[in-house]
Every structure is written in C-alpha cells, then in structure tokens.
C-alpha cells in the first residue's frame, strides 16, 4: 500500500513539528530565558536564576499542555461536526456550540448574583464552570440537531447557528448589565480565551474530558466513515443513526464545552484545522484523520499561543484574536483556491 506509507511520513513530519512547536512555545515568553537553560530545566537541571525554574515548570509547561489539549480537542470536535452535518462549514463556533458554552459560563459567572444575590465565587469550583459550559453547549447542540432533522437545508442550519450566537450575546449583555464589575471582568477575560493560568488539577480535568471525547470518536470510527456516504447509506450499512448521532453530539459537547469552559471561546481552530489537515492527508478515512487533526490542532494552538505571548514583551494578546487572525484567512484562502469547499 503506497498510501499507508506516505501517511506514515506525514505523521512523522507532524510529530517532529509538534515537538518543535512545544519547544518554541516553552522557550518563549515575557521573560527571556536562554534556550539551553530551558532545555536543562525540562530535564531536571538547575538554572542560573532560580525563578526561571519556577516560570518554566509552573507557568510555561502547564500552558503548553493546555494548548495541546485545547488545540487537539477543538480540531477533533470540528472534524466530528463536519462529518455529522456533512458540511464543510460546520465547526463548534459556527454552529453556535461555543455560544452555548459562553451562555453557560456567563450564567454561572454573572447570573448567580442576579438570581440569588450571592457575589462570592467560593462555591463555584472548576468542575461547575466546566459543567455549566458543557451543558450550555449540549443544549445548543441538541436544538441544532432537532432543527437539522426538520430543516434538510444545511445553509439554513448554519444561519440558525449564527442566530443562536446573536441570542446568546444578547442574553450575555443583559446579564452583564446587572452584574458587578468584578464579575463582568471575570467573564470578559474568560471570553478573550486563554490557555495560561490553569492549575495542574484543572489540566487533569481538561485532559480527562478530551480523552473521553477521543474515546467516543474512536468508538464511532465506523459510523463516522459510513456517514460520509449520507445518512441513508449509513443506515443501510447497519449503522444505528440515532445512537451514533447521539454519541457524536455528546463527544462534541464534551470536547467543545469542556475546552470552552477552561480556555474560553476559541475561534476557528475547530473549523480550519480539519481542512488544513486534508491538505496533507488526502483521505477521508477517519482512522487517519482523527490522529492527524489532533496533532495539527495542537501544533496550531501552540504556535498561536507563542505569537499571543509576544515574546520578550510583558503584554499578552487575547488568544481568540490570534486564532481568528490565522483561521479566517485560511478559510478564505481555501474557498478562493478550491473555488468551493470540498467536504
């Protein structure tokens, strides 16, 4: 098989790229730490300046891990959505799933005072934020699926997704109007998106969510491939549509919802990465595409985060802005070059 061999080379190439991206990401930041020192810290050595060790171990490594989880997970959720809806424009952001997560987060961060008059967050653990965002994205996904069954036109579905985005932002505005400046700030910062400042506990939880998403995707491999033919054909191949649709929705909800909860709504990674991946891996076989989008998404996220950190400067750009700046032109480029987006 000539194909299998070329895919192996591509995977090796992506693996090396990921390794370089990780080093680049850990090696750069607001504090200039010489590269050989970074390497030695990673392998347990002691640097010239003690604080460097702290910065690398407590700040940069968790950030790189978060980037990998966020990028890979979002890319995978995008791939699942595109196959589920058989639409090249599907992605967690476009279909309003991220908006749903935002709504969940907003209700938790700002709505509690509105409802109960409580101002403290002390009882709100990381789990509840993740849960709120996941539930939010689930609800939107469920509505989208219900609508998808009645409205066969996928363009209408995308527009409905956009409308959900509008409704969500309207509700968020209302919430913001009634909330304290402290709560508002929390939400705004969350909505900028960030892969830093996650504790190891939070990262573990995020990793578990992403692993569940990956597990469900692998479990659905056959139905994903069958869905490429369309729902009727998939059914004729023995796929239980209801079951596989539900599995994929849950997987996407956990991935997109969980990630959005911890890292904020991060745009375009889910939409763009599957298309970028198909440029390298000329196949629709999900057995190849799933690991490929995981790798590609991780690399892209690490690079976006590296840029967002503005190496050697103290300021950090919102990561959401960077992914949009990278992702949107990619989508335009694909459309212009290929004339139409091939799914």
């Amino acid at each position: 098989m000539q194909n299998a061999k070329t895919y192996r080379i591509s995977f090796v190439f992506l693996g090396i790229a990921l390794f370089i991206a990780v080093l680049l990401n850990i090696g750069s930041g607001s504090v200039n730490i010489p590269f050989n020192e970074v390497i030695s810290i990673l392998f347990g050595g002691n640097p010239e300046i003690e604080s460097w060790k702290y910065i690398v171990q407590e700040f940069r490594v968790p950030k790189a891990l978060t980037s990998i989880l966020v990028g890979g997970g979002l890319a995978l959720s995008g791939l699942l959505m595109q196959t589920l809806f058989r639409n090249p424009l599907a992605g967690p952001f476009v279909l309003g799933i991220s908006s749903g997560a935002s709504l969940g987060a907003a209700l938790l961060l700002m709505g509690t005072s509105l409802l109960t008059g409580l101002t403290s967050f002390s009882f709100l653990g990381d789990v509840s934020l993740a849960l709120a965002a996941s539930i939010g994205s689930f609800l939107v996904l469920l509505v989208v699926i219900i609508v998808a069954q009645r409205v066969k036109d996928t363009m209408a579905l995308l527009i409905i997704g956009l409308m959900f985005g509008s409704i969500t932002s309207a509700i968020v505005s209302v919430l913001a109007y009634f909330s304290s400046s402290e709560q508002l700030r929390r939400f705004i910062f969350w909505s900028f998106g960030s892969v830093s400042n996650l504790s190891f506990n939070q990262i573990t939880l995020l990793a578990i969510l992403v692993l569940i998403g990956i597990g469900l995707s692998i479990f659905s491999l056959k139905s994903l491939n069958a869905l490429l033919l369309g729902e009727n054909y998939a059914q004729s191949l023995g796929v239980s549509l209801k079951k596989s649709r539900m599995t994929l929705i849950i997987a996407t909800g956990i991935l997109a919802g969980g990630i959005t909860a911890f890292a904020g709504p991060i745009a375009f990674v889910g939409l763009a990465v599957p298309h970028l991946t198909r440029q390298i891996f000329d196949t629709m076989e999900h057995k190849i595409l799933i690991p490929a989008v995981l790798l590609y998404g991780s690399i892209l996220m690490l690079l976006c985060d590296t840029i967002a950190q503005l190496p050697n400067s103290a300021s950090v750009l919102p990561i959401n802005a960077i992914t949009s700046l990278v992702g949107a032109p990619v989508v335009i480029w694909l459309l212009v070059r290929k004339r139409k987006m091939m799914f």
């Binding site: 056959k222 033919l229 191949l237 239980s240």
Partner: protein
C-alpha cells in the same frame, strides 16, 4: 414451507406511504435468486416509496415483507446490512472519497469495530472493481468521475456488500443511452452470474422489457407482476400512460408517440 424458503424477497398485501397518506396498496410479488426485476410506473406512483420501505428507511403501513422467509421487521440493522444493500438516487455526501474508499465502505457490516479490512474484504473489493470496470479509476476522487462512472462505483459498493438482495432507485437517470444500457447489462450479469436478486426502479420501460427477468408495474390498482412478455400479452403496458399521448406497440415492445 420449502417453496417459501426459496424466495429471497416476498411481499404480500403491502401498503406503503407516509403516515396517514397511503401511496400504494395491495402490492404482491416475490423474487427468487438470480432474478433481475424492474419496477416501472408513472412519476409519483410510489416506486421510490416502495424501495425505501423495502430497505426499511420508512415503516410499511400494512402487509408483509419477508427476506428469505423471515419478516424484515424482526431483523436487527447489522444483520439486515448483510442481507440487503441499496443504491440510492442521492450521490454520496462526501465527494472527496476515492473510488476504492467508497467501495471499501460496502464491507462495513463484516469488519471489526475499527473497520479493519481483512484479505477477504480486499478480495471482495477487487472483485467489485473488476466487475464494474473500475480498476483504472480506483484512486480517483468521486468528484472527478462522470455520472455514469459514479453510478458504477455506487453499484460496485453494493456488490462489495455481498448481500443476496440489492435494491436500486432509478440507477439509470441522468445517463445517456449507452451508459443506461451499460448499467442495466452489468446488473443483469450480476444477477445471473452471481445469483443476486436485484430490484430496481426505472423509467426506461423499453430497456427493462428487453433486459429484465420479471417486472412489477405500479399502476395504482392491482400492480401486475410477471415476465415482460407475459405482461405484454396481458396488455398491462397499454394503460400505463394516457393513450391519447403515447401508445404501446406489443409487436416491438416500444412506445409510440401519438402525433
């Protein structure tokens, strides 16, 4: 009992439709292995609905459908996929699949949970590629194919699924005469040499009369079923279309336009 078991598909007193809207009723026919059967009838009479009902995409309203003597209602989906394959009018959702990938999907009912292809599966895929003259196209993407080629690929996929019964919904639409004949002749070979039972709907009545072993005419009344010559003798084609427009000539088995 024994005679019943010989039939691959037998349909009795079947009523089809959507919810409360009955499209056709009192459909009776049965098919033995190695039979090519064409379903004809005017637009909207229920050809597609019949095929969709047989493939279990929609529930039947009443009656009985039996596959090898077993009611299809009782067959679980993954087992039904080994008994019955379909070729639909809709083209595959992803046109980015290669010919080989698409045909390989036909093996899904037999592969393990990861969809790994065994040498047995590859044998079936290669046989299907050969049978439908697709060897040179195997690495082409579906969007690079002509309508006739794509139709051949879809039928080859159904063949790779290796089911005793294959249902096709209008496999010859959008094709020129040459490709229509090509597809129908390939189906005929598939039925006769591999002992498949093939049921397809079509508007090509004249071609179907020449190539089919049996035909089912959906006429909205008693739905005659039988060999083409028998149906001609019983004058069932005469009333198929309004006679002031076209008239059936039983000598040649063709329709003549009334000018």
């Amino acid at each position: 009992m024994e005679k019943q078991a010989q039939n691959i598909l037998s349909v009795s007193e079947l009523a089809i439709g959507y919810g409360t809207k009955k499209v056709a009723e009192h459909i009776n026919f049965s098919l033995k292995p190695g039979i090519l059967c064409g379903v004809v009838g005017v637009n909207g009479i229920g050809k597609s609905t019949l095929l969709r009902t047989l493939a279990r995409f929609q529930p039947m309203l009443s009656g009985k459908i039996e596959l090898k003597g077993q009611s299809t209602k009782q067959i679980p989906p993954e087992k039904l996929a080994k008994e019955l394959s379909v070729v639909l009018t809709e083209s595959p959702a992803s046109k980015n699949l290669t010919v080989e990938e698409l045909i390989a999907l036909g093996r899904q009912p037999y592969t393990n949970w990861l969809g790994t292809l065994t040498s047995q599966d590859k044998k079936y895929i290669n046989e299907s590629l050969d049978a439908f003259l697709l060897n040179d196209l195997r690495h082409k993407k579906c969007h690079e194919l002509s309508d006739g080629q794509l139709q051949r690929v879809l039928i080859a996929r159904a063949m790779a699924q290796d089911t005793p019964l294959i249902l096709l919904d209008e496999p010859t639409t959008h094709l020129d005469l040459y490709h229509k004949v090509q597809i129908l002749k390939l189906l005929r070979e598939l039925a006769h040499y591999q002992q498949k039972t093939i049921l397809f709907s079509t508007h090509e009545i004249e071609l179907a009369i020449q190539l089919c072993d049996t035909m089912l005419i959906l006429d909205g009344k008693n739905h005659p079923f039988g060999g083409p010559c028998q149906l001609i003798e019983q004058q069932h084609f005469d009333g198929l279309f309004p006679s002031e427009m076209v008239q059936f000539d039983p000598q040649t088995g063709t329709f003549k336009v009334n000018k």
